[in-house]
Amino acid sequence: MSRKETVRDLEHSIIMGHIDSDDEGYDGMMEGTPGTMELVETALEEGIDPQDILTVFNEAMDQVGVKFESGEYLLPDMLASAECVGEAMEILEPKLAAGSGTGKGKFLIATVKGDLHDIGKNIVITMLKGAGYQVKDLGIDVPADDIVAAVREYQPDYVGLSALLTTTMIEMEHVVKKIREAGFNGVKIFIGGAPTSEEFARKIGADKHCRDAMDTIEKIEETRDVS
């Protein structure tokens, strides 16, 4: 296969959410053909620069975003594509020149103490990985102290907090306070979950409130542009 063909196929496989050869892809016809995982390996074997592969990821996800916005793709389709990139990043990450990384940063995420809801959080994780962020998920019902300890250990650029109950959203305030008290003033704190709002984020000193996964991607890209 020529390099050009590989790049084209890789981009197509991401758009089709075709993760590997066992998967049937967006149109149900792709089983048995190389998927994103195989094609990334091929691309690396052919000597394509990892940085260029990253560009393919971004361009493919841009197209997927357009398809979602126009209504051609449903959320499961977009998540399938994001999952392709997320998984492929695991292969690509170590190959990227040290220091250059993806440049996008590390995102630590948790559902706060007392709350077990995680569907929304999990969607956000898939999308963030699909956009090239490194995500560490602490799970559900996570006490403030555990979150602070994890911030210390992983040194993330972003912390994301999720809460779906009016009783647990209050816990977010404690977490924000504890993170700041521990001296992590540079880390950007994102919050989300149905009962939260922009106003609430401001009140508790969080940096961003995100309505949904797409909003999260837009706002995180904004903060990167600014910095």
Binding site: L74, L75, P76, L116, I119, G120, I123, L138, G139, T166, T167, A194, P195, D212
Partner: protein
């Protein structure tokens, strides 16, 4: 009094529509047993894992991210043995004994009630709108209000008066500043019991509040055998996990032998397979795991098979109630519950729409009909819910009351015998030989309650006046005095139950 001699609230009797063939039921049962035996349930509660182990389940301790979990494996034979302990009849008491409910798994008799814990209370007011040419219509305008004790009281008072509401599940999340996790439960049950003499059901925020809530219910129930309250516990987090604090609630409520719903609410497409055979096999395994826990903790504890399967929206993965799957899933679960001989807690009548209107009406009507036709004994969510389960609208509840009445009237079983047919033949012969009219016969059937009424809110002229009439009805209900408790009982409850907050009624008084 024995349960047979008691008077119960009249249910809707149906001839159940069954979607699964008997071999499909058995296949789903086997699939659930396979999940329970091979994958098991990941249980986060230490006490629950001990109860399971002592009861004969294989339990393995595992650690994930410094947290301990217990993987519980269920031998099929054990599950099948334990299911034999589950009572097939559950009686739910009420302050007014005439509102007592009998849920009998062998009888597809259906009750409808409220549900959810909506964060938003939607007030409505009629306004006149005019267009060119002198045309005017009346249409409601709405204001959103955060849930509060006052709103919960108002809603319980309204549900007391809506004739199709058979039971009251606290439907508004009380978000007043004075409400704390410790005092929330007593206040929810007190506000509800004060305003309705129908059966009251709710969750338990704080397991420590259980004795106080039961004591209060005893005082208010006034020495009746069956408490006027019961509980809902959702110990499951789909797929196949069990939550620590809720599993402990299951254990303590089961030990008290107070009726309890054991529910699971997977979302087809996000936390369960979207296809019906997949979600049914999974939710069935999850509910049975919860029921096994209750029976091990309190053998013979009265439980309901709490099935709340919903479907995910395809654009956001939020919960979606207007999709036909919501009804199909519910019907499938009702059939599984009947097969096990356990009364079924089910759901119908939630609008995805954010405001009352045609969308909400369409979404609700089909689901009342479908779910009730399957013979689920206890259908919650049925009144006033919009925006998924996030908004409670009193106006919508009045509209829903009219819709549920229609659905019930369509579904009621054909209850005639040979004598009835003979009488009809005679009536036809007489009319055919005489006037050709059957008008006299109407009166007889009316007296026997066998003639249905058309939709409640009909208009004589061209204007659709549904909203105007429903709002008037709502306003008149709210103007009624509450059928409250006696001063003496209120004083007694306030004297004995700590944590009760002052209750300000929506009419300006306080209790």
């Amino acid at each position: 009094m024995s349960d047979d001699a008691m008077e119960y609230r009249e249910p809707l009797k149906v001839k159940p529509v069954e979607r699964f063939s008997s071999s499909q039921i058995e296949t789903v049962h086997r699939a659930s047993m396979k999940l329970l035996a091979e994958t098991g349930i990941s249980c986060a509660g230490r006490t629950a894992s001990e109860v399971y182990r002592a009861g004969g389940c294989r339990v393995e301790e595992t650690k994930k991210e410094s947290r301990t979990h217990w993987q519980v494996y269920f031998p099929t034979q054990l599950v099948e043995e334990i299911l034999k302990l589950v009572p097939s009849r559950v009686v739910l008491g009420a302050r007014d004994p005439k509102n007592t409910l009998l849920l009998d798994a062998s009888s597809p008799s259906v009750y409808f009630g409220t549900g959810s814990e909506a964060n938003v209370y939607l007030r409505s007011q009629l306004k006149k709108f005019s267009a060119e040419g002198g045309h005017t219509i009346q249409y409601p305008v709405f204001t959103e209000e955060p849930g509060s004790i006052k709103a919960l009281c108002e809603s319980a008072h309204l549900m007391q008066q809506l004739d199709q509401v058979d039971f009251f599940i606290r439907n508004v999340n009380i978000r007043d500043e004075s409400v704390t996790p410790e005092n929330k439960d007593v206040n929810v049950f007190f506000a509800s019991l004060l305003h309705t003499s129908k059966h009251v059901q709710g969750g338990l925020t704080d397991p420590e509040a259980l004795p106080a809530v039961i004591r209060m219910a005893r005082l208010i129930g006034g020495g009746q055998e069956h408490l006027p309250i019961s509980f809902i516990v959702c110990p499951i987090k789909s797929p196949l996990s069990m939550v620590a604090d809720s599993s402990e609630k299951v254990i303590s409520i089961a030990r008290q032998k107070v009726p309890m719903v054991i529910s699971s609410s997977p979302q087809g497409g996000s936390t369960a397979p979207i296809q019906e055979e997949g979600i049914t096999a999974q939710i069935n395994a999850e509910i049975l795991a919860g029921i096994v826990l209750a029976q091990l903790a309190g053998p013979g504890a009265p439980v309901l098979y709490g099935s709340v399967p919903v479907r995910a929206r395809l654009d956001t993965l939020h919960d979606c109630y207007g999709a036909p799957e919501f009804v199909r899933y519910a019907m499938d679960c009702a059939q599984m519950a009947r097969w096990y001989g356990i009364p079924c807690y089910s759901s119908a009548g939630v609008g995805d729409a954010k405001r009352p209107g045609m969308q909400a009406m369409a979404e609700k009507l089909y689901s009342y009909l479908g779910t009730a036709s399957a013979g689920a004994q206890y259908i919650h969510y049925a009144f006033g819910l919009l925006a998924g389960t996030n908004i409670f609208s009193p106006l919508q509840a009045v509209l829903d009351n009219a819709s549920v009445r229609l659905a019930k009237d369509i579904l009621r079983t054909a209850d005639f015998d040979e004598e009835g047919v003979d009488a009809a033949v005679q009536e036809i012969q007489t009319a055919a030989a005489g006037s050709g009219m059957f008008v006299r016969g109407i009166r007889k059937q009316l007296r026997r309650n066998r003639v249905s009424h058309p939709y409640e809110f009909v208009s004589e002229d061209e204007e659709d006046r549904v909203f105007a009439m429903a709002q008037q009805k709502l306003d008149s209900y709210l103007a009624q005095e509450a059928e409250g408790l006696s001063e003496a009982v209120i004083r007694q409850v306030r004297g004995q139950i700590p944590g009760l907050l002052p209750i300000e009624t929506w009419k300006g008084g306080s209790l």
